[in-house]
Protein backbone atom coordinates (compact mmCIF):
# COMPACT_ATOMS: atom_id res chain seq x y z
CA UNK A 1 0.00 0.00 0.00
CA UNK A 2 1.35 3.40 -0.86
CA UNK A 3 2.18 5.92 1.85
CA UNK A 4 1.25 9.59 1.83
CA UNK A 5 3.99 12.18 1.33
CA UNK A 6 3.35 15.30 3.40
CA UNK A 7 5.39 18.43 3.91
CA UNK A 8 5.27 21.62 5.94
CA UNK A 9 7.05 24.96 5.55
CA UNK A 10 10.54 25.13 7.01
CA UNK A 11 11.98 28.39 5.72
CA UNK A 12 12.32 30.84 2.90
CA UNK A 13 15.98 31.26 2.02
CA UNK A 14 17.16 34.36 0.14
CA UNK A 15 20.69 34.31 -1.19
CA UNK A 16 22.89 37.23 -2.18
CA UNK A 17 25.39 36.21 -4.79
CA UNK A 18 28.45 37.95 -6.21
CA UNK A 19 29.63 37.91 -9.83
CA UNK A 20 29.86 34.34 -11.09
CA UNK A 21 33.17 32.63 -11.64
CA UNK A 22 33.03 30.86 -14.98
CA UNK A 23 35.39 27.95 -14.67
CA UNK A 24 34.37 26.75 -18.11
CA UNK A 25 34.46 23.35 -19.73
CA UNK A 26 36.28 20.81 -17.64
CA UNK A 27 36.60 17.15 -18.64
CA UNK A 28 33.29 16.41 -16.88
CA UNK A 29 31.08 19.40 -17.38
CA UNK A 30 30.78 23.15 -17.77
CA UNK A 31 31.17 24.63 -14.33
CA UNK A 32 30.08 28.02 -13.01
CA UNK A 33 30.52 29.02 -9.37
CA UNK A 34 28.07 31.44 -7.75
CA UNK A 35 29.71 32.88 -4.62
CA UNK A 36 27.21 33.44 -1.81
CA UNK A 37 28.08 36.64 0.02
CA UNK A 38 25.05 36.92 2.28
CA UNK A 39 21.33 36.54 2.56
CA UNK A 40 18.63 35.68 5.04
CA UNK A 41 16.30 32.87 6.01
CA UNK A 42 13.04 32.91 7.86
CA UNK A 43 10.52 30.35 9.02
CA UNK A 44 8.26 29.71 11.99
CA UNK A 45 10.97 27.82 13.88
CA UNK A 46 14.13 29.60 12.81
CA UNK A 47 15.40 32.76 11.25
CA UNK A 48 18.68 34.51 10.71
CA UNK A 49 21.27 35.37 8.13
CA UNK A 50 23.38 33.60 5.56
CA UNK A 51 27.08 34.12 6.22
CA UNK A 52 29.50 35.06 3.47
CA UNK A 53 31.86 32.40 2.24
CA UNK A 54 29.43 29.92 0.72
CA UNK A 55 28.70 29.13 -2.86
CA UNK A 56 26.79 27.13 -5.39
CA UNK A 57 28.76 25.00 -7.84
CA UNK A 58 26.52 24.87 -10.89
CA UNK A 59 27.16 22.42 -13.72
CA UNK A 60 25.64 22.42 -17.17
CA UNK A 61 24.81 18.92 -18.25
CA UNK A 62 24.63 17.43 -21.71
CA UNK A 63 20.84 17.70 -21.81
CA UNK A 64 20.93 21.46 -21.13
CA UNK A 65 19.80 21.20 -17.52
CA UNK A 66 21.79 22.50 -14.57
CA UNK A 67 22.77 20.63 -11.45
CA UNK A 68 23.37 22.59 -8.28
CA UNK A 69 25.71 21.83 -5.42
CA UNK A 70 25.44 24.45 -2.70
CA UNK A 71 27.10 24.83 0.66
CA UNK A 72 26.49 27.73 2.99
CA UNK A 73 26.58 28.55 6.68
CA UNK A 74 23.46 29.90 8.34
CA UNK A 75 23.54 31.88 11.57
CA UNK A 76 20.29 32.03 13.53
CA UNK A 77 19.17 35.20 15.29
CA UNK A 78 20.14 33.57 18.60
CA UNK A 79 23.64 32.64 17.49
CA UNK A 80 23.29 29.02 16.32
CA UNK A 81 25.41 27.98 13.36
CA UNK A 82 23.91 25.62 10.79
CA UNK A 83 25.85 23.97 8.00
CA UNK A 84 23.51 23.69 5.02
CA UNK A 85 24.07 21.92 1.72
CA UNK A 86 21.86 21.07 -1.19
CA UNK A 87 22.03 19.38 -4.53
CA UNK A 88 19.37 20.16 -7.05
CA UNK A 89 18.13 20.35 -10.60
CA UNK A 90 17.29 23.42 -12.64
CA UNK A 91 15.58 22.75 -15.94
CA UNK A 92 14.58 26.06 -17.51
CA UNK A 93 12.88 24.36 -20.47
CA UNK A 94 10.36 22.83 -18.09
CA UNK A 95 10.35 25.66 -15.50
CA UNK A 96 11.60 23.20 -12.92
CA UNK A 97 13.97 24.25 -10.13
CA UNK A 98 14.00 21.90 -7.16
CA UNK A 99 16.57 21.11 -4.51
CA UNK A 100 17.17 18.59 -1.71
CA UNK A 101 18.61 20.53 1.25
CA UNK A 102 20.34 18.96 4.24
CA UNK A 103 21.25 20.55 7.53
CA UNK A 104 23.83 19.87 10.20
CA UNK A 105 24.03 21.68 13.51
CA UNK A 106 25.34 21.25 17.04
CA UNK A 107 22.90 23.79 18.52
CA UNK A 108 20.44 21.76 20.66
CA UNK A 109 17.53 24.06 19.81
CA UNK A 110 17.94 23.29 16.11
CA UNK A 111 18.87 19.59 16.40
CA UNK A 112 15.56 18.73 14.69
CA UNK A 113 17.25 19.86 11.47
CA UNK A 114 19.71 16.96 11.72
CA UNK A 115 16.82 14.52 11.54
CA UNK A 116 14.78 15.71 8.60
CA UNK A 117 14.77 15.64 4.83
CA UNK A 118 13.60 18.67 2.90
CA UNK A 119 12.69 19.87 -0.56
CA UNK A 120 13.28 23.37 -1.92
CA UNK A 121 11.42 25.15 -4.68
CA UNK A 122 13.77 27.63 -6.29
CA UNK A 123 13.07 30.87 -8.08
CA UNK A 124 15.37 33.43 -9.62
CA UNK A 125 14.14 36.88 -8.60
CA UNK A 126 15.64 40.23 -9.53
CA UNK A 127 17.25 40.46 -6.07
CA UNK A 128 18.71 36.96 -6.31
CA UNK A 129 17.80 33.31 -5.86
CA UNK A 130 15.05 32.44 -3.40
CA UNK A 131 14.32 28.93 -2.15
CA UNK A 132 11.05 28.00 -0.48
CA UNK A 133 12.06 25.03 1.66
CA UNK A 134 9.65 22.50 3.11
CA UNK A 135 10.30 19.73 5.60
CA UNK A 136 9.26 16.25 4.49
CA UNK A 137 7.02 14.90 7.27
Amino acid sequence: MSLAINARPLMELRLETAATLDVGSTPDRTLTIFPVVGGSFEGERLRGKVLAGGGDWVSVRGDGTFTLDLRVTLETDDGGLIHMTFTGVRDDAHHYFRTAPRFETAAPKYAFLNRLLAVGIGEIRSEGPVHIIEEIL
Partner: protein, 150 residues
Amino acid sequence: MNTRLLMMMHVKVGTLLSIGGVPHGVRRTALLGGGAFEGPRLRGTIIPGCSTDWQLLRSDGVLEMDLRVTLRTDDGALISMRSFGLRHGPPEVIAAIGRGETVDPSSYYFRTMPRFETAHLQYSFLNRLIAVAAGDRRPEGPIYTIHEVL
Protein backbone atom coordinates in the same frame (compact mmCIF):
# COMPACT_ATOMS: atom_id res chain seq x y z
CA MET B 1 4.83 21.29 -2.51
CA ASN B 2 3.05 19.03 -4.97
CA THR B 3 4.05 15.48 -5.73
CA ARG B 4 2.75 12.54 -7.70
CA LEU B 5 3.40 8.83 -7.51
CA LEU B 6 6.44 7.78 -9.50
CA MET B 7 6.65 4.17 -8.40
CA MET B 8 6.32 1.67 -5.60
CA MET B 9 9.54 -0.22 -4.95
CA HIS B 10 9.75 -3.51 -3.08
CA VAL B 11 13.27 -4.33 -1.98
CA LYS B 12 14.43 -7.75 -0.81
CA VAL B 13 17.18 -7.63 1.77
CA GLY B 14 20.20 -9.85 1.25
CA THR B 15 23.46 -10.18 3.14
CA LEU B 16 24.18 -7.68 5.92
CA LEU B 17 27.84 -6.81 6.48
CA SER B 18 28.37 -5.25 9.90
CA ILE B 19 31.48 -3.13 9.65
CA GLY B 20 31.10 -1.86 13.20
CA GLY B 21 32.23 1.29 14.95
CA VAL B 22 33.84 3.89 12.71
CA PRO B 23 34.69 7.51 13.58
CA HIS B 24 31.23 8.79 12.55
CA GLY B 25 29.07 6.04 14.05
CA VAL B 26 28.31 2.37 13.42
CA ARG B 27 28.54 1.34 9.82
CA ARG B 28 26.91 -1.55 8.04
CA THR B 29 26.43 -2.46 4.42
CA ALA B 30 23.25 -4.14 3.29
CA LEU B 31 23.52 -6.04 0.02
CA LEU B 32 20.15 -6.21 -1.69
CA GLY B 33 18.80 -9.52 -2.88
CA GLY B 34 16.77 -7.92 -5.66
CA GLY B 35 13.30 -6.48 -5.85
CA ALA B 36 10.78 -4.88 -8.16
CA PHE B 37 9.33 -1.48 -8.93
CA GLU B 38 6.14 -0.40 -10.61
CA GLY B 39 4.54 2.93 -11.40
CA PRO B 40 2.37 4.55 -14.06
CA ARG B 41 5.34 5.27 -16.33
CA LEU B 42 7.86 2.54 -15.57
CA ARG B 43 8.20 -0.91 -14.10
CA GLY B 44 10.88 -3.52 -13.77
CA THR B 45 13.29 -5.17 -11.38
CA ILE B 46 16.22 -4.30 -9.14
CA ILE B 47 19.40 -6.01 -10.30
CA PRO B 48 21.06 -7.76 -7.36
CA GLY B 49 24.85 -7.80 -7.17
CA CYS B 50 25.23 -4.10 -7.84
CA SER B 51 22.54 -2.82 -5.51
CA THR B 52 23.53 -2.00 -1.97
CA ASP B 53 22.49 0.25 0.91
CA TRP B 54 25.43 1.84 2.74
CA GLN B 55 24.20 2.63 6.24
CA LEU B 56 25.59 4.64 9.11
CA LEU B 57 23.99 4.65 12.56
CA ARG B 58 24.84 8.06 13.97
CA SER B 59 25.54 8.86 17.60
CA ASP B 60 22.18 10.68 17.82
CA GLY B 61 20.37 7.45 16.95
CA VAL B 62 19.53 8.44 13.37
CA LEU B 63 20.24 5.87 10.67
CA GLU B 64 21.65 7.45 7.52
CA MET B 65 21.13 5.43 4.37
CA ASP B 66 22.97 5.79 1.09
CA LEU B 67 21.25 3.46 -1.32
CA ARG B 68 22.73 2.78 -4.75
CA VAL B 69 20.80 0.42 -6.98
CA THR B 70 20.59 -0.44 -10.64
CA LEU B 71 17.14 -0.89 -12.11
CA ARG B 72 16.18 -2.72 -15.30
CA THR B 73 12.86 -1.73 -16.83
CA ASP B 74 10.59 -4.30 -18.45
CA ASP B 75 11.71 -2.97 -21.85
CA GLY B 76 15.40 -3.34 -21.09
CA ALA B 77 16.56 0.15 -20.03
CA LEU B 78 19.09 0.44 -17.23
CA ILE B 79 18.53 3.16 -14.63
CA SER B 80 21.01 4.05 -11.92
CA MET B 81 19.29 5.18 -8.74
CA ARG B 82 20.88 6.72 -5.66
CA SER B 83 19.04 7.86 -2.62
CA PHE B 84 20.01 9.43 0.64
CA GLY B 85 17.69 8.70 3.52
CA LEU B 86 17.08 9.03 7.24
CA ARG B 87 15.37 6.60 9.59
CA HIS B 88 14.64 7.22 13.27
CA GLY B 89 11.88 6.82 15.80
CA PRO B 90 10.97 5.79 19.33
CA PRO B 91 13.51 3.25 20.66
CA GLU B 92 10.88 0.54 21.12
CA VAL B 93 9.75 0.87 17.49
CA ILE B 94 13.32 0.77 16.14
CA ALA B 95 14.00 -2.26 18.38
CA ALA B 96 10.91 -4.04 17.01
CA ILE B 97 12.14 -3.44 13.44
CA GLY B 98 15.51 -4.84 14.53
CA ARG B 99 13.78 -8.00 15.76
CA GLY B 100 12.17 -8.44 12.36
CA GLU B 101 8.67 -7.43 13.40
CA THR B 102 6.18 -5.60 11.23
CA VAL B 103 5.46 -2.14 12.65
CA ASP B 104 3.15 0.67 11.58
CA PRO B 105 5.16 2.85 9.14
CA SER B 106 3.59 5.99 10.62
CA SER B 107 5.23 5.22 13.99
CA TYR B 108 8.73 6.20 12.81
CA TYR B 109 10.46 8.48 10.29
CA PHE B 110 11.80 6.75 7.19
CA ARG B 111 12.23 9.10 4.26
CA THR B 112 14.63 9.17 1.34
CA MET B 113 15.42 11.40 -1.63
CA PRO B 114 16.03 9.32 -4.75
CA ARG B 115 17.88 10.59 -7.82
CA PHE B 116 18.00 8.81 -11.15
CA GLU B 117 20.34 8.63 -14.10
CA THR B 118 19.61 6.95 -17.40
CA ALA B 119 20.74 7.15 -21.01
CA HIS B 120 17.47 5.73 -22.29
CA LEU B 121 15.37 8.38 -24.08
CA GLN B 122 12.03 7.03 -22.93
CA TYR B 123 13.08 7.50 -19.31
CA SER B 124 15.15 10.68 -19.65
CA PHE B 125 12.52 12.56 -17.63
CA LEU B 126 14.03 10.81 -14.62
CA ASN B 127 17.32 12.68 -15.11
CA ARG B 128 15.55 15.99 -14.50
CA LEU B 129 13.51 15.40 -11.39
CA ILE B 130 13.83 15.42 -7.63
CA ALA B 131 11.96 12.68 -5.82
CA VAL B 132 10.89 11.95 -2.25
CA ALA B 133 10.16 8.54 -0.80
CA ALA B 134 8.40 7.25 2.30
CA GLY B 135 9.62 3.88 3.50
CA ASP B 136 7.92 0.99 5.26
CA ARG B 137 10.48 -1.44 6.71
CA ARG B 138 8.93 -4.88 6.47
CA PRO B 139 10.74 -7.99 7.72
CA GLU B 140 11.48 -9.11 4.14
CA GLY B 141 12.75 -5.67 3.13
CA PRO B 142 11.66 -2.06 2.73
CA ILE B 143 8.78 -0.92 0.56
CA TYR B 144 9.25 2.60 -0.78
CA THR B 145 6.47 4.86 -2.02
CA ILE B 146 8.42 7.12 -4.38
CA HIS B 147 6.92 10.43 -5.46
CA GLU B 148 8.18 12.87 -8.05
CA VAL B 149 8.37 16.46 -6.73
CA LEU B 150 6.36 18.50 -9.24
